[in-house]
Symmetry: C2
Subunit: 376 residues, 2 copies
């Protein structure tokens, strides 16, 4: 009964698996942390839709971060959308943060181009292309994790619910590499920012990199930091550290994202961190992605974790660029799913997915369409 | 009566001037923000006690920041104390933060050596020596202030009381320069980290720099940003921006420090920022400094602002290095006064200055004396 009431109240949030009901996410002082990073793996052709072309990929995470603050990009004089108008998911996140007044910070865990915003710096280098080099030195992995622990601890003192999102182009490939190294059968289960999910390409890159590094499936299951160092990216240890820092201090964490956040969950498990206060928050478009297998991937890592899924009704949008999210493009990122869930909960059910869609469309008109038309 | 009760409860906090009683500082979610920065002005001989010698000065702010997290310095293999054992005021701040569990962040607004901690970066260059160059470009002043506003706004969403401290060697000289440019008669009123307050040297430097920049007393009273650019340092616009960001969003601010914080107050006034939620928090050793004139300096800037003064009974310490604070050395810094006030209030009066002294002495034994003995 209790649960039915909640379902009615939050009709655009679905809980999948797990023992938790939606009200476990209620908080008087949530905070959103967006970790931006870079891996040169993203420069391999065909791997990401983020960034209109190869030269622009390096601006993507910083442009996303600037968009959250300003509704526009400053590091690059361009609209944060594909040439045919599919926007960055930061558009959704920004809209939600404006409505909910949830505070947020951006953590730089190794971007190539610094955004024009104040940010929490982990003083890390961008990750290398895992086909050519090891992803990052083990000292850098250790530092990212250690800084994450420190930040997570501080954050959790006045914020009892920390929502963690990311922006790292090419990140699903490195995430796949780490999971396979840890013995999690994630192959062909990872989502992509494109509807034609380039599984073959991703598998090929990861297999080649594993071979180069003498890794076989599960051979690093007790050495998650080695896996990150050889085949991961700087976002992974940073988010892991922040999450653990919060949990160790008694707080709750939402891993807001798609299959990349599965990697974080799998490392937390390997580190024996208690995950009863860890939740996954994502969009319907990841959850329903037939080219991937999100739910089973999560459950194969932790069959007790609750997945919260947000429905923003983008399929009903009059904006083709937004409707595209429901048709397999972009789908998620920059914590869009998790932050929209927190926004509905923050509004105590007074804002549902349909109402939020109107706000998102307004933001799209103001900050994408107008500039897009201006440019063309 | 009410007020007498408070005075009894918080017997080691004194309110000077202003209409506020101590309970205005009560908060369920305070946060401490330590802004570290650098000015090459500190390299002029005789200007600061911070750093055992000239080559070490550049490590001071970062060593302070590391001390807050680790109880030791990492960027430099040395004890954060003068050769005869006078510790950094960060020792007091760290002790208080540990006891109170008040969260804190460090903002890098332009240090020369990066500390080994995660920090909020404003991506600024260290300030120049005001005898030789302008202190910082006007774009940098604008950026520091703008980033401060952004950070202050975000902080104030979940923290209704923001305590602002600083660590910038040589900062009282640049602070003096800015105040004179704004028409505030601060000459011979600024505190120093040394008992033989080098007023003559500071005045000489500032006068020379003013002449070089064609500034006369008060000639920049309507151009505070020009004053900072010509004769200030990067800490000043950063702290000003954070303070204003908090206030604009309805929060309360404590400027925790000595005469440098007067400069912040004077700029806030020049920017027409309402200061009824701005408080000064400092130590008894600044307040009683006969070589300076703290109270009158504050009142000449804003005669309504309340000054809260913390008594940590350092005069009674068995540790000569700590006792020295009461005899004119160091006196304050890294927000020590303000954070100790917040700690007493957080403990609802259950911790007074004498109790806190015991904790400070323990910290001194553990992190200064032991290492100091080890080294010698």
């Amino acid at each position: 009964m209790e649960n039915n009431k909640l379902i009615e109240k939050y009709k655009d949030i679905t809980v999948v698996n797990g023992k938790d009901s939606i009200n476990i996410l209620e908080s008087n002082n949530p905070i959103f942390v967006c970790v931006i990073a870079y891996t040169e793996t993203s420069e391999i052709s065909g791997i990401t839709v983020a960034g209109a072309n190869k030269d622009l990929i390096k601006y993507t995470p910083s442009a996303d971060a600037e968009f959250l603050y300003y509704g526009r990009c400053k590091c690059i004089d361009d609209v944060p959308a594909t040439p045919d108008g599919k926007p960055t998911p930061a558009l959704i996140t920004k809209t939600m943060l404006d409505i909910s007044n949830i505070p947020f910070i951006v953590v730089d865990s190794g971007v190539k181009v610094k955004p024009d915003i104040p940010l929490f710096s982990f003083n890390l280098r961008p990750g290398k292309n895992i086909l050519k080099d090891i992803a990052m030195k083990s000292e850098e992995v250790e530092k990212a994790y250690r800084y994450g622990l420190i930040l997570g601890k501080q954050l959790s003192k006045n914020n009892d619910f920390v929502i963690l999102g990311e922006s790292i182009p090419g990140g699903t490939t490195t995430a796949l590499g780490v999971m396979l190294s840890l013995g999690i059968d994630a192959e062909n289960k990872m989502s992509s920012s494109m509807p034609q999910n380039p599984h073959t390409l991703k598998n090929m890159i990861v297999r080649k990199s594993m071979k180069k590094n003498n890794i076989t499936f599960g051979s690093l299951k007790d050495k998650p930091f080695d896996a990150i160092s050889l085949i991961g990216d700087p976002m992974i240890p940073s988010v892991t550290g922040i999450a653990q820092g919060v949990i160790d201090n008694g707080g709750r964490v939402m891993l807001a994202g798609g299959t990349q956040m599965c990697t974080i969950l799998s490392i937390l498990k390997r580190l024996n961190v208690k995950t009863d206060k860890v939740f996954i928050g994502t969009t319907k478009y990841i959850f329903n992605d037939h080219s991937a297998d999100f739910t089973n991937l999560v459950l194969s890592i932790d069959n007790n974790v609750s997945i919260f899924v947000s429905d923003l009704h983008l399929i009903e949008s009059t904006k083709l660029g937004l409707k595209a999210f429901a048709n397999g493009f972009v789908k998620e990122g920059v914590g869009a799913g998790g932050v929209s869930i927190a926004t509905m909960i923050n509004a105590n059910g007074k804002l549902n997915g349909k109402t939020l869609l109107k706000y998102i469309e307004n933001e799209y008109e103001k900050n994408i369409e107008k500039n897009y038309v201006k440019r063309n």
